[in-house]
């Protein structure tokens, strides 16, 4: 019996071992595959981050340098044929003097300043270089005449003098110098005429055109007529006003309502409803807040359109739930021992909250605030509905002036017809916006680690 059964028993056991081995191999293969999927997912996610950033960096960094023209401009009395600037006489009212100087400035503006620009460009070109005036003016940005006029208005004694000025080269010239334009294309497809292209090459050689850091991105306001001089200064001020409003309103209100809901509110159906409501509010699409702003702030309360005040209020309402939820989480995390110790020493509930619990949660509240503010800084959609996509060519001085915001400026620039030039400048604007985001988050991390160490 045993003699017969042993081989078959052994065989069965070999068979079983083989089956188990096969099964194990299959299972381990599945294990490796599954783990591989996980790894692939992580690599994909990290790859997205990397691609996004390198893409924006590659596109944006060249826009931070810009072609400048170094010219000698002559304020020729033959061209600048205008009376002396009005001087304030005794007994003249502010309004009369202002009207007189505005009238003089209008006379100045009516002069053909392009002739001054043209003359200075011709002076820099080699003698006998043939180019007509329309073509030569395409080398300098169209705002050159405004720059020279402003110089003259600010200092009328320049009349008849020749001074060195730095002007921006036009967007097309900038692209030509940077090599973004295919030099082999025929004249019909080129934005710049053949003589203008030749002149730019000459200018580049003799140093009249040189590349410099594009300060205009930071110091100028938006401009449609003169793309090379379009900058972010106005949008930056608009965003700054809105952030100040968000910080002044959302933080105190958010922290206060979190304290009330977490510490004082009786547990009832009403507070349950408030809680559900706040959680939902956090997930409401941002564009719905824009609708709210358009209907309530603009249409009902008649706040000015395109004003950072209205934008700031909309962003405040949008940020509130984030801050409330984060603060509640922080308050929940405070150890009961601290509360009981405070109450045991005879503190009232209010004293317990404000003297003991709140200071401990300060780092978390700060982090939540900064994250909320960063979120508000990057928000675009609701601002479009309250008119903040208006073209604004001045830096807003108060929160009631027309303004735009950094992300909205990106939206406006990406839609500009001068794609060739604005794609790079939009990427540069994105880099500036991302720079602010990173700065905010870095501050949050830094403050938190410092405060937590002390606590």
């Amino acid at each position: 019996m045993t003699n017969i059964s042993t081989p078959t028993g052994r065989q069965a056991s070999i068979e079983r071992t083989r089956r188990v081995r096969d099964g194990l191999r299959r299972r381990h293969l599945h294990e490796a595959l599954f783990k591989g999927f996980g790894l692939a997912a992580i690599i994909a996610a990290l790859g997205f981050v990397a691609i996004l950033f390198t893409d924006v960096l590659i596109k944006g960094i060249p826009a931070f340098t810009q072609a400048n023209l170094h010219l000698e401009a002559t304020f020729d009395p033959a061209i600048i044929d205008v009376g002396p600037a009005p001087v304030r006489t005794a007994g003249q009212s502010d309004a009369d003097f202002r009207a007189a100087s505005l009238g003089w400035q209008r006379d100045v503006a009516l002069l053909n300043w392009n002739k001054v620009v043209e003359a200075s460009l011709r002076a820099a070109a080699p003698a006998g270089f043939e180019i007509d005036s329309r073509q030569i003016l395409t080398v300098a940005e169209t705002n050159a005449r405004h720059v020279l006029r402003e110089m003259f208005v600010n200092d009328p004694s320049l009349l008849g003098q020749t001074i060195k000025v730095d002007l921006l080269a036009s967007a097309n010239a900038d692209n030509w110098v940077k090599g973004n334009i295919d030099r082999e294309l025929g004249d019909a497809q080129q934005q710049l005429s053949a003589p203008a292209r030749a002149l730019i090459d000459i200018f580049e050689e003799n140093g009249t055109i040189s590349m410099g850091f594009a300060w205009s991105i930071f110091t100028n306001v938006d401009s449609r007529a003169a793309p090379a001089s379009a900058g972010l200064a106005g949008a930056f001020m608009g965003s700054l006003f809105m952030m100040v409003i968000v910080i002044l309103l959302a933080v105190p209100i958010g922290v206060a309502s979190a304290i009330y809901l977490e510490e004082f509110a009786p547990k009832s159906r009403l507070t349950d409803l408030i809680e559900v409501n706040i959680n939902n509010l956090a997930a409401v699409p941002s564009i719905v807040f824009g609708l709210l702003g358009a209907a309530v702030f603009i249409n009902y309360f008649k706040l000015p359109l395109s004003a950072p005040l209205a934008g700031g209020l909309v962003l405040t309402l949008m940020t509130l739930p984030t801050i409330i939820i984060a603060t509640r989480g922080a308050l929940q995390g405070v150890s009961p021992a601290l509360r009981q110790a405070a109450l045991g020493m005879g503190a009232s509930k209010t004293q317990m909250v404000f003297h003991h619990v709140l200071p401990v949660t300060f780092p978390s509240i700060l982090t939540a605030t900064i994250i909320g503010v960063a979120q508000a800084l990057g928000e675009t959609a609701p601002l479009l509905l309250i008119g903040m996509n208006a073209f604004v060519a001045s830096i807003p001085a108060t929160p009631l002036d027309q303004a735009t915001a950094l992300p909205v400026q990106i939206y406006l620039w990406q839609a500009n017809e001068n794609r060739n030039f604005f794609e790079a400048r939009t990427s540069a604007a994105i880099l500036v916006l991302l720079g602010f985001m990173i700065l905010l988050n870095a501050i949050a991390i830094l403050l938190r680690t410092r405060l937590e160490r002390r606590a």
Binding site: F34, A256, I287, V296, L320, L384, Q414
Partner: protein, 459 residues
Amino acid sequence: MNSLIIAGLLVLLLGLAYQTGWSKSRSLVTPDGIKVHSRPQYHGALVAIWTLVPALLIVGLWANFGDSATRAFTVSQIPPDVIMGLDEIALNATIQRIGALASGYGVVGEVQPFEQAAGAALRQFQFLSFLLVVAAAAGTGILALLYARSRITARLRARNAVERVMNLALLACSGVAILTTVGIVASLLTEALRFFTFINPLDFFFGTVWAPKFSSTGTGDAGQYGILPLLSGTLMVAAIAMAVAVPVGLMTAIYLSQYAPRSVRAVVKPIIEILAGIPTIVYGFFALVTVGPFLNKAGAMIGLDISATSALTAGVVMGIMIIPFISSLSDDILNQVPLALRDGAYGLGATQSETIRNVLLPAALPGIVGAFLLAVSRAIGETMIVVLAAGNSPVLRGSPFEPVSTITVSIVNQLTGDTDFAGPQSLVGFALGLTLFVMTLLLNIVALYIVRRFREQYE
């Protein structure tokens, strides 16, 4: 300038009140040990509150009605025979001139004698009214201060009173969140109802053509407002986004929470969360200038005609945006599954992946479904990516390779720069917003309910 003076005076008054209450309550303490109920700060604060309320009330009244009072006074200074000859616009111009004369800035051109006189009178009126407001605010404030000071005794429950006021202020603050919801619902509902007086709701919810005509075309025809093309576009983009985000996000969460060593997790998790902090306009630009052309070329290589701005482009990039959302929520949920379940599976000889697939995921399923629903609601409400990259073509189509339009895109198109809300052209934005709000609200409520139930199950 005037408002700065008033603010300064109020602060001064406040400081004075606090100081008064503080020192009075301090003076109650005598060496022979009378116990004062509240600490001096509370007495000071109580007096300050008493003082501030009437003063603020008066200043607030002036801020509300001061302008119309000034205007009425100016009009009364213009001779009746002049007023007769002025229409609305000329009257406003005259009032402005008088205001400019009163401020000392002056006006351009000839000044008529009545303007000069009215300017002088207005100047006096402004000065007197300002003095009056300041005096009234300060006077009532000081009266209230004296009254509050006289109430201070050793037994006064100053702390309780101050805490009651603080509680009320906190309650008012948490009311803001409620008011926001009420404001959203009210404004969406009223404007949407006004829209439905122009357009039949049935045509809106079941119409298959989206072709609003702008009022500037002049004809009485307002166009067709069928939401179905937009709805299909919205759902298509959201579905593509989920198809990208769910596998990547979920597998990332699983790998990071179950396989990755602590050090890898500490590095990778924050990097992926960077994706969540990038503004959506940046994603939109990325989709428009990089992903769209890339998909177009890739499609051409395998013989597919993919439009550069299409549902696919927008969906893929939106999926990338949602990855960190799904991965961090799923990560939280996987970490909440009790260790005993996992250890039990290991004890029975299951491999790690078998444990995850057969034990962890089923246990975490409700929570993960909740996270997905939250992600869907975010995808539906996302605006800037689709505005830039979906192609804005509101036609009912089945192919994801062609341009689409979504609800959010149409809201932006219909409402940008237009705020008179007179015709269906702009009001439709609110009807679309209401639809969007209800959709996301339902998703959120269900999702939050599921997540909450899941948490309670394992707590």
